[in-house]
């Protein structure tokens, strides 16, 4: 099968490699900035274009990978669905819940497979945590703490800095944790959130949320784009018969390059060395679904619910009160 990648910056590059590793052929790369599209396309001897809609419409494309800025996702998902392509869309699914709904409806109507890349569901450490909980090692869980983040991501043209577009760390990064909470502990009841979203004197974001699950479990979720360096992920689950903790700071492998003057990392994508990377696993899962062999671990509705949680958190931060889900 042939793949088109649109959005050829950080995540586009990763997903092109994963798709290629799965034996798929990258035939076209689209990006609003032609040079970015071409740089990636050249690695796979593919065509490049600054017209993403034209790339999506190509008859030789079977799968469209959408790694563009969040507010553009829905329009590309809809276009790809209408063109009869299967869709692999980076998280967050879309900027708003109604956009998610429109995208789901379009995919349903076109009978194409729509997958949203909530990669944390494929992270081996997160699966190990779920397995420990399922094995009863903490007893009945009552409290969860999730922490994720580091530097403010640069992104193409600094689009993350436009909080209205990116939703800041709350939508772009904590959506991983919101999704994983739902995946592991069931449906949420309400959310409260404080989110800095500062643009002066520097761009920083720091977001602190509490999610009350329908089961009564309390989850504290903290996301940071406020640190001068590094990236850290921490999880703690406390139950009535034990607790567990995970921290990426206790890394199996740490490699730090001396800083080059003027070079700022565009984005830090966390990954621990494994025989098969979680990004590879999500492509494999997506493809088994595309091939009709099984369902995928993430449904479009899961992705919508994650956007719902994150946008409710942002609403809470705006009004200073909890928001019911």
């Amino acid at each position: 099968m042939n793949v088109a990648i649109i959005g050829c910056n950080g995540m586009g590059r990763i997903h092109a490699r994963m798709a290629s590793n799965c034996g798929l052929r990258i035939v076209a790369c689209g990006d609003a900035r032609l040079a970015t599209a071409k740089a990636l396309a050249d690695e796979y001897v593919a065509d490049s274009s600054d017209d993403c809609m034209a790339v999506i419409a190509r008859p030789d494309v079977d799968i469209v990978g959408i790694m563009t800025p969040t507010p553009t996702h829905a329009q590309y998902v809809i276009a790809a669905a209408q063109a009869g392509k299967h869709i692999f869309c980076e998280k967050p699914f879309a900027r708003t819940v109604p956009e998610c709904r429109e995208a789901i409806a379009a995919a349903k109507k076109a009978k194409v497979k729509l997958f949203v890349a909530h990669v944390i569901r494929y992270f081996q450490e997160f699966e190990a945590i779920r397995a420990q909980i399922a094995a009863g090692k903490v007893g009945k869980p009552g409290f969860v703490k999730m922490y994720r983040g580091g530097i403010f991501p640069a992104g193409a043209d600094g689009w993350f800095r436009d909080f209205a577009k990116s939703g800041g760390v709350t939508l772009d990064s904590m959506i991983h944790d919101f999704d994983w909470l739902r995946y592991t502990f069931g449906e949420p009841e309400r959310v409260f959130c404080q989110a800095l979203r500062r643009a002066t004197p520097e761009f920083i974001d720091y977001s602190m949320a509490t999610v009350r699950m329908k089961s009564g479990i309390i989850a504290k979720v903290i996301g940071t784009w406020a640190h001068p360096s590094d990236f850290r992920v921490e999880v703690e689950v406390c139950g009535d018969n034990g607790m567990l903790q995970y921290s990426s700071a206790e890394a199996v492998l740490s490699m730090t390059k001396r800083a080059q003057s003027g070079v700022v990392p565009g984005m830090i994508v966390p990954e621990s060395p494994m025989p098969v990377s979680p990004y590879q696993l999500e492509w494999q899962d997506f493809l088994t679904w595309v091939e009709g062999r099984s369902g995928a671990r993430v449904t479009p509705d899961d992705a919508l619910q994650a956007v719902r949680m994150a946008t409710a958190a942002l609403k809470s931060a705006d009004i200073g009160q909890p928001v019911n889900l």
């Binding site: 404080q194 009350r212 309390i218 903290i222 940071t224 009535d240 018969n241 909890p322």
Partner: protein, 335 residues
């Protein structure tokens, strides 16, 4: 030489305070009183001092100051008795379970012209002092947000009985951090949102975990976890941590993380051997000095009241499921 007495060993911190008194050359632990005579006698024996069974008699002997380490709901009556007897007082935190009690205690001590301190030893923690110094220096610019935790193992006993404790983990483990933040930033709390409940230690009649979101003057955003969520098998009692997000950088403090990991085959449980400074010693030394100098302790009753106001607002918020304003009682003038 300050002559100090301890009123009640109901709170485990009393054992540390008594040890500090014995360690300080400028203090003498003169006597112990406890409404549980068995507990009081054992403690007096442990610390090489006299047990006095009758409270009236205890307050008539030659003691300059008392440390009140009873169950929370008894703080008020004990503090009032001691104040009326002219004793300087250091009261365990929380100062009281209610704003009304805390106010009455402050007023009573003021009237009796005795000093009243609240036992917030974190102000004497070297890592927390270092973090505060960095903030006060201005090197980090404006503080925008702080994410805190005060987790602990389940204390059991009266701590989990509403009639004696007045509240659960949300009360027990919010007051320290509330005081630390006031001390570090010089700002007061303005708003609180809290989700809490009995999530881990089923069958107790207090909450065992609270997740708080607070705002301080100038819009400073604060997240806090107040809990008894540490497993029995956890290698230590708990933690006090802060991640401070400021204009010019981030400061992380894990205040009790000065430890050695110990794996002893007899214990069959990993343990942390703590080698950091003892904040309790600084707290007790200040109280002893305050007694000697006839001054207010460094951390006052009003500081205790401020932390109580935050916890009271937290319980109100959890009940109403909405953000509530922190109502600051007009501070009493220093004596």
């Amino acid at each position: 030489m300050a002559k100090i007495g301890v009123m009640s060993f109901a709170h485990m911190h009393a054992f540390s305070y008594a040890a500090c008194l014995n360690e300080l050359p400028e203090a003498t632990l003169v006597a112990v009183w406890d409404d549980n005579p068995k507990r009081g006698r054992a403690a007096a024996k442990q610390f090489g001092t006299t047990f006095v069974a009758d409270l009236g008699k205890f307050l008539r002997i030659d003691i300059d100051g008392v440390i009140v380490t009873s169950e929370n709901v008894k703080h008020r009556s004990m503090v009032e008795r001691a104040a009326k007897a002219g004793k300087w007082i250091l009261c365990e935190k929380p100062l009281a379970p209610s704003v009304e009690d805390a106010k009455a205690m402050i007023a009573c001590c003021k009237k009796a012209k005795v000093g009243l301190g609240t036992a917030f030893p974190c102000r004497y923690s070297p890592p927390l002092i270092a973090a505060r110094n960095a903030l006060v220096s201005g090197e980090y610019g404006e503080v925008y947000a702080v994410a805190c935790t005060n987790n602990g193992q389940f204390p059991g006993g009266w701590f989990a009985k509403k009639a004696l404790a007045g509240g659960g983990a949300t009360m027990d483990h919010t007051v320290h951090v509330a005081d630390v933040l006031r001390w570090m930033t010089g700002k007061e709390f303005t708003k609180v949102y809290c989700e809490n409940g009995t999530l881990l230690r089923h069958g107790i009649d207090t909450d065992d975990l609270g997740s708080l979101h607070m705002e301080m003057e100038g819009g400073l955003q604060v997240s806090h976890i107040a809990s008894w969520n540490r497993a029995k098998s956890f290698p230590t009692w708990g933690d006090v941590t802060l991640e401070i997000v400021a204009e010019k950088g981030v400061i992380r403090v894990d205040a009790f993380n000065q430890k050695i990991n110990v794996y002893n085959d007899d214990a069959l449980r990993a343990e942390w051997a703590y080698w950091g400074g003892n904040p309790d010693l600084g707290l007790i030394k200040d109280f002893v000095d305050a007694v000697d100098e006839r001054r207010e302790p460094n951390v006052t009753g009003v500081d205790g009241l401020r932390a109580v106001e935050v916890t009271v607002a937290a319980y109100k918020s959890a009940k109403l499921r909405k953000t509530v304003s922190v109502r600051l009682t007009r501070p009493s003038k220093r004596i």
